[in-house]
C-alpha cells in the first residue's frame, strides 16, 4: 500500500493522501528498457503504469490517440536536441479477469527455478501492450565539472576518445558537442537506424526482412563513408572526421563481414560516438579496437552497465559515484571524478612510464658493467673460470651496494612537475611511441656498459702491475679486485645521479649511503678472520689499500674516465637532439617554486585560457548549430556562453515544470 499526496485542480491548494495498492512490480532491466507497476485504486480500478524509453513504449501503444503520439514524438525530439534525457509514461486499464489470469502466469514465472528472467520477460510482454500514452519527461543531466577540458587535453595528448552511451542519438551528439569531441567544422558520418526508409520496413513487421534490409543499409553507408574519407586526408588542414553510429546499426556492423570496414572507418575518425549501445555492445566495441587495431584501450565508466566494457579494455577505470560501486569493483583503477583521468594519465601514467624505463635500463646497465669486468678478466686467467671478485661482493652487489638508489629513482623521479605535465599534454606521445625503451636506447646503454667495464678492468689492473707504494710490496689478485670493485660501486652509483631528472634528499641519502655501506662492509669483512672462514683472501686488504696513495689516485681517475663517455653522450644528446620533455624542462627551469603551491593556483589558471578561448570563439563569425551543448554545460559556463553568443536561452524544461507546479494549473486529461 502506498500513499500519494495529490492536489487536484478542483480543490485548489488542498492536498490529500490517496492510497493505492501495489499488486505487481515488473522490474526494470536493460533488455526491456522499461518498468511497470500494477496498482489498484481505492475504487477497485486496476491500472498498469509503465515507464521506459520512448522506443519501447511507442512500440507497445494502442491504436487510439494518434495525434497525441505524434505531438509527443515531436516534443521528444526537441527535448533530445536540447540535450535532455527523455522517458515516456503510459498506462493501461486492466479488466479483473484478464488481470487474474495474467497474475497466475506471473506468479508461476516469478517462482520458477530455471530461466526466471526470461520467463518474467515473457510474462511482462503478455500484459505490456495496448498502452495509452500519458506523456514524456525530460531530465537535464549535467556533465561533471571539468569534463570538456579534460577531454580536450586528452585529445591533445594523442588519445582518441570514443563515447559509448545508452542515450538517444540527439542526446549523444549534444554531449559530444559539449565535450568538444564534435564541432561544426568536422565532417560527420552518421549511421542511424532512425531513417525513414528503415522505419518503413520496420512497420511492415517482418523480422528477417528488417534484419536483411538494415544490414544492407549499414553496409552501404559504411562503404560510402569509407570511400569518402580519403579525400579528407589529402589536405592536411582539412576537416577532421567524426563517426556517429546507432546501437541497432552497430549490431549489424559488428558482424564479422562488416567489422573490418567499421574498424577502418572509425580509426580514421578523430571522434566516434555510439549511441543506444547496450552493455554487451560496449564490450564488443572495446574488443574490436583492442584486438583489431592492437591499440591500448582504456575504458572509463561509472555505472553497472559499464562493467563489461571496463573489463574488456586493457585498462578499466571506474568512477565511484552516485550510481554505486559496481564499476569501481570491476575496474583496475578507481577515481572519484572524471577529470581526475587527466591526472591519472598525463601525470602519473607518464611518470610511471619514464620511471619504469629508467629502472629497467639501469638494472641491466649496472649488472652488465659489473659482470663484463669479470669477463675481461677471464682472458687473463687462461679461461679457467677464476672469479675476479670475492663471493660476497658478487652476492651483495645487487642486494646492498646498488639496490636502494634505483628504488628511490623508481619512486620519485619526475621529469617535469605535475602542473607542467598537464600543460603540455603532447608529451604523452613520447610514451605512446615508446621512445625511452626501444632498441636504440638499449643499445646505447649496453655500449656504455661495455666501455665502462673495459675502463674498470684495464685501468685498475694495468696500473697495479708495479709496487703498491714506496715500500716496494706488490698487490695480489684480491687487492686488485677490491680496488676494481670499489670503483665499480662508486661509478655505478654516480651514474644513477646523472640519469635522474629530479634529485631529492632521498637520492643523496641512498647513493651516499650505498657507497658508505660498501666501505663499512669491506672494513668489517676484511677486518675479521674467524676459524670458520673458507679462505682469508680478503684479510686486511682494504686497510692496506687505503694506506697507499695509489688508491686515491685511481679512485679519482677511474669513475671520471668511465663516466666521461656517458656525460659526453648526455651533453650531445640534450643539445643537438633534445627530447620534448627536455625542452619543456629548460623553458620552465626558473619557475622553481610552482610545484609546491596548492591546487587553488591551478584552477585559476584553468579558467583564464578558457575565457581567452571563448573570447576568440565569439569573435569569429560562426554558424550557430542546432546542437548547442547548452544542456550539458558544466556549472559556471551556462550564462557565460549564452551572453557571449547573444542568444536567447530557451527556458529549461525543469524550470518550466517548477513554475507550473507552483501555479498548480495543470489540466486533467
Amino acid at each position: 500500500m502506498i500513499y500519494v499526496r495529490e492536489s487536484h485542480v478542483e480543490k485548489m491548494g488542498k492536498t490529500q493522501d490517496v492510497s493505492y495498492e501495489i499488486l505487481n512490480v515488473l522490474e526494470f532491466n536493460s533488455t526491456r528498457k522499461r518498468q511497470s507497476v500494477v496498482c489498484r485504486y481505492r475504487d477497485g480500478r486496476l491500472v498498469l503504469f509503465c515507464k521506459g524509453a520512448d522506443t519501447v513504449i511507442y512500440e507497445r501503444l494502442g491504436t487510439g490517440n494518434g495525434d497525441l503520439n505524434k505531438v509527443t514524438r515531436v516534443h521528444l525530439e526537441q527535448f533530445g536536441s536540447a540535450g535532455l534525457r527523455t522517458l515516456c509514461l503510459a498506462y493501461r486499464d486492466l479488466a479483473p479477469d484478464l488481470y487474474e489470469s495474467w497474475n497466475e502466469k506471473f506468479i508461476t514465472a516469478k517462482s520458477s527455478l530455471r530461466d526466471r528472467e526470461k520467463r518474467l520477460d515473457e510474462v511482462a510482454e503478455l500484459i505490456e501492450k495496448e498502452f495509452i500514452l500519458i506523456g514524456a519527461t525530460a531530465i537535464e543531466d549535467k556533465l561533471q565539472e571539468g569534463v570538456p577540458n579534460c577531454i580536450q587535453t586528452l585529445s591533445r595528448a594523442g588519445i582518441k576518445i570514443w563515447v559509448l552511451t545508452g542515450d538517444k542519438i540527439e542526446t549523444a551528439i549534444n554531449i559530444a558537442y559539449a565535450c568538444n569531441l564534435l564541432n561544426n567544422e568536422m565532417k560527420q558520418f552518421i549511421i542511424s537506424s532512425e531513417t525513414d526508409a528503415i522505419r518503413e520496413v520496420e512497420e511492415r513487421g517482418d523480422q528477417t526482412e528488417i534484419a536483411r534490409f538494415m544490414k544492407e543499409e549499414v553496409k552501404k553507408q559504411l562503404k560510402q563513408f569509407l570511400d569518402e574519407a580519403p579525400q579528407y586526408f589529402c589536405s592536411p588542414s582539412g576537416p577532421k572526421l567524426a563517426l556517429v553510429i546507432d546501437g541497432k546499426c552497430l549490431m549489424y556492423a559488428l558482424e564479422p563481414s562488416l567489422r573490418i570496414m567499421l574498424l577502418t572507418l572509425s580509426l580514421n575518425c578523430s571522434s566516434v560516438v555510439c549511441c543506444r549501445v547496450s552493455p554487451l555492445q560496449k564490450a564488443q566495441v572495446t574488443s574490436l579496437v583492442k584486438k583489431g587495431a592492437r591499440k591500448i584501450t582504456l575504458s572509463i565508466g561509472d555505472g553497472a552497465n559499464d562493467v563489461s566494457m571496463i573489463q574488456a579494455a586493457h585498462i578499466g577505470i571506474g568512477i565511484s559515484g552516485l550510481e554505486g560501486m559496481q564499476a569501481v569493483m570491476a575496474s583496475d583503477f578507481a577515481i572519484a571524478q572524471f577529470r581526475f583521468l587527466e591526472d591519472l594519465l598525463l601525470v602519473h601514467g607518464r611518470w610511471s612510464y619514464i620511471r619504469l624505463c629508467k629502472v629497467v635500463m639501469y638494472f641491466f646497465y649496472k649488472n652488465l658493467a659489473f659482470t663484463l669486468t669479470q669477463f675481461w678478466f677471464t682472458f687473463g686467467t687462461g679461461f679457467s673460470g677464476q672469479r675476479f671478485y670475492d663471493d660476497w661482493f658478487q652476492s651483495l652487489y645487487n642486494v646492498i651496494f646498488t639496490a636502494l638508489p634505483v628504488v628511490i629513482v623508481g619512486l620519485f623521479d619526475q621529469d617535469i612537475s605535475s602542473s607542467l605535465s598537464k600543460k603540455y599534454p603532447e608529451l604523452y606521445k613520447e610514451g605512446v611511441r615508446n621512445m625511452f625503451f626501444n632498441r636504440r636506447v638499449v643499445a646505447i646503454w649496453a655500449c656504455f656498459a661495455v666501455y665502462q667495464s673495459l675502463v674498470f678492468f684495464y685501468f685498475v689492473s694495468l696500473s697495479s702491475s708495479t709496487s703498491r707504494d714506496s715500500d716496494g710490496k706488490m698487490f695480489g689478485l684480491w687487492d686488485v679486485s677490491t680496488m676494481a670493485f670499489t670503483c665499480v660501486v662508486v661509478t655505478v652509483n654516480l651514474r644513477l645521479l646523472m640519469m635522474c631528472n629530479s634529485i631529492t634528499r632521498w637520492h643523496y641519502i641512498s647513493v651516499g649511503g650505498s657507497i658508505i655501506v660498501w666501505f663499512v662492509f669491506i672494513f668489517i669483512y676484511s677486518g675479521i678472520m674467524t676459524r670458520f672462514d673458507r679462505n682469508d683472501n680478503m684479510f686486511w686488504v682494504i686497510y692496506v689499500l687505503m694506506s697507499t696513495s695509489y688508491f686515491y689516485v685511481t679512485l679519482l681517475l677511474v669513475p671520471v674516465a668511465a663516466l666521461l663517455g656517458d656525460f659526453l653522450y648526455l651533453g650531445v644528446q640534450r643539445w643537438f637532439f633534445p627530447y620534448d620533455y627536455q625542452i619543456v624542462q629548460e623553458s620552465h627551469k626558473d619557475d622553481a617554486d610552482s610545484i609546491n603551491k596548492p591546487d587553488s593556483q591551478e584552477t585559476k589558471e584553468h579558467l583564464t585560457p578558457d575565457e581567452a578561448r571563448s573570447n576568440e570563439i565569439s569573435q569569429l563569425p560562426k554558424e550557430v548549430s542546432k546542437h548547442s551543448g547548452f544542456a550539458f554545460d558544466s556549472p559556471g559556463y551556462e550564462s557565460f556562453f549564452a551572453t557571449q553568443f547573444g542568444k536567447y536561452v530557451p527556458p529549461k524544461a525543469w524550470d518550466v515544470a517548477r513554475r507550473a507546479s507552483m501555479k498548480s494549473k495543470s489540466k486533467p486529461k
Binding site: S7, T15, Q337, L477, S502, F539, T554, V560, L564
Partner: protein, 353 residues
C-alpha cells in the same frame, strides 16, 4: 492523468556531481610530501654552460695530476733483465727441459747489469714471471689458509689435493701454491764487493702477523716424487718464511713480479753490478719467461706510467671537448627552452594520428 506532486520531474539533476565537499569526516589520506610526490628536489639540467664548465674543471684538475704522477714515475729507475734464455748452457739450448730437471747440473749463471742512473736506497729486487697463470682457478683454490694459521688445523687439506698429504701425514703448507714456490736465488756484487740483500720485511705485515702462524712449521713438504719448487726449512715457522708469504699472495695477471729483497745502499750511475743467479725454477715446460728487476720506488709506487698517462689523456680530452663544445655553441646555438623546438611545433601540421 495528472501526476503532479510527489515526484517533481528531475529537479535532482541526476548525474554525478562531486561529493567530497559536503562530507563531514573526510576520507582523504593525511597529506605528506613524501606520499604526494612533492618533495623538494634539485632538478639539474645539463645546460651547455654546465657541460663546458665540467669538462674544463676536469681538464684543469687532471692534467697537473697526470704530470705529477708521470714525473714521479719517470723518477723511478728500473733495470729489467731477462735471463731464462741466456742462463742455459749452450749444450742444452735445444733441450732446456732436460737441463732444468736434472738436479746434478750446475745451475749458476752470472749476469752483468749496468745502472743507468743513480738509484737511491732502498733498491727493491723483484723476480718477474711471464705467462705464469697464478690466477688459474684450480691453482688459486689449491691452498688451505686454515692450516697456515694454526697447528690444530693441520689436517684441513681438503682443497689442496693432490698436494695434500703423504703417507706420513698431511703436508704443511699444502696445496699447489706452496708447492710451486719460486726458488731462483740472486747474489749481487759490485766491483767484487758483495751487496747485502735484506730479505726481511718483504711480505705484507698482515700476512706475517695474522695469516701465517708463528707456531706452524713445514712438514712433509716437497717430499714426493715431483718437486715443484723450493724446499722449506722445517725448523723455521711459517711466519718467518718471507719468500713463502710473498709467493702465496697470488698475482692478478699472468705477468707479475714479486718482491725478492731489498738493497739498502745507493747504486751509483754507470756502475756494473754482477749478479750470480741460481737458475733453478722450471719455466721452460710452459714457455714462461723469467726476468730480474731492480727498481726504486716513489710515493706512487714503481715505474708505471699508466696512471700519469691516463690522467693526462683524460684531462687533455676533456679540455679538447670543452673547446669543441664552445665552438659548436658558437656555430650552432640553440636557445634554451625555445618552444619552437618542440616536436609538435616543428613539423608542419600533418594529419593527426
Amino acid at each position: 492523468m495528472d501526476t503532479n506532486g510527489a515526484t517533481t520531474s528531475s529537479a535532482a539533476g541526476g548525474g554525478s556531481t562531486s561529493k567530497s565537499s559536503s562530507k563531514k569526516h573526510s576520507r582523504k589520506p593525511v597529506y605528506s610530501r613524501f606520499t604526494q610526490q612533492e618533495l623538494p628536489a634539485c632538478k639539474p639540467i645539463l645546460t651547455p654552460g654546465l657541460v663546458i664548465a665540467t669538462f674544463t674543471i676536469i681538464g684543469i684538475i687532471f692534467i697537473p695530476l697526470g704530470l705529477v704522477s708521470l714525473s714521479a714515475s719517470e723518477k723511478v729507475v728500473e733495470i729489467v733483465d731477462r735471463y731464462d734464455e741466456s742462463c742455459v748452457p749452450s749444450d742444452y739450448s735445444n733441450d732446456k727441459l732436460k737441463f732444468i730437471q736434472n738436479p746434478s747440473i750446475n745451475k749458476s749463471c752470472v749476469r752483468t747489469l749496468t745502472v743507468p742512473k743513480l738509484m737511491k736506497s732502498p733498491v727493491f729486487i723483484y723476480y718477474q714471471l711471464d705467462n705464469y697463470y697464478q690466477n688459474h682457478r684450480r691453482y688459486v683454490k689449491s691452498r688451505s689458509d686454515k692450516q697456515l694459521r694454526s697447528v690444530s688445523d693441520e689436517k684441513s687439506t681438503k682443497d689442496c689435493s693432490p698436494e695434500d698429504k703423504t703417507v706420513d701425514g698431511p703436508i704443511v703448507p699444502c696445496g699447489l701454491v706452496a708447492w710451486s714456490l719460486f726458488n731462483d736465488t740472486y747474489g749481487f756484487s759490485v766491483n767484487s764487493k758483495t751487496i747485502e740483500v735484506n730479505k726481511h720485511d718483504i711480505a705484507w705485515k698482515s700476512d706475517k702477523e695474522h695469516k701465517f702462524g708463528s707456531n706452524v712449521y713445514p712438514k712433509n713438504f716437497q717430499s714426493g716424487g715431483l718437486i715443484g719448487g723450493a724446499k722449506l726449512n722445517s725448523s723455521v715457522p711459517l711466519s718467518k718464511q718471507d719468500d713463502l708469504m710473498v709467493w702465496m699472495r697470488t698475482a692478478a695477471l699472468p705477468t707479475f713480479r714479486k718482491l725478492y729483497g731489498k738493497i739498502e745502499q745507493d747504486l751509483q750511475a754507470n756502475e756494473k753490478i754482477q749478479v750470480v743467479i741460481q737458475n733453478n725454477y722450471n719455466t721452460y715446460s710452459f714457455s714462461g719467461k723469467k726476468k730480474l728487476v731492480l727498481s726504486t720506488t716513489s710515493w706512487i709506487g714503481g715505474k708505471n706510467d699508466f696512471l700519469g698517462i691516463a690522467y693526462i689523456i683524460v684531462g687533455g680530452l676533456c679540455l679538447f671537448l670543452a673547446v669543441c663544445f664552445i665552438l659548436l655553441y658558437v656555430i650552432k646555438p640553440r636557445p634554451l627552452g625555445d618552444p619552437s623546438y618542440l616536436s609538435w611545433n616543428r613539423s608542419p601540421a600533418g594529419h593527426p594520428n
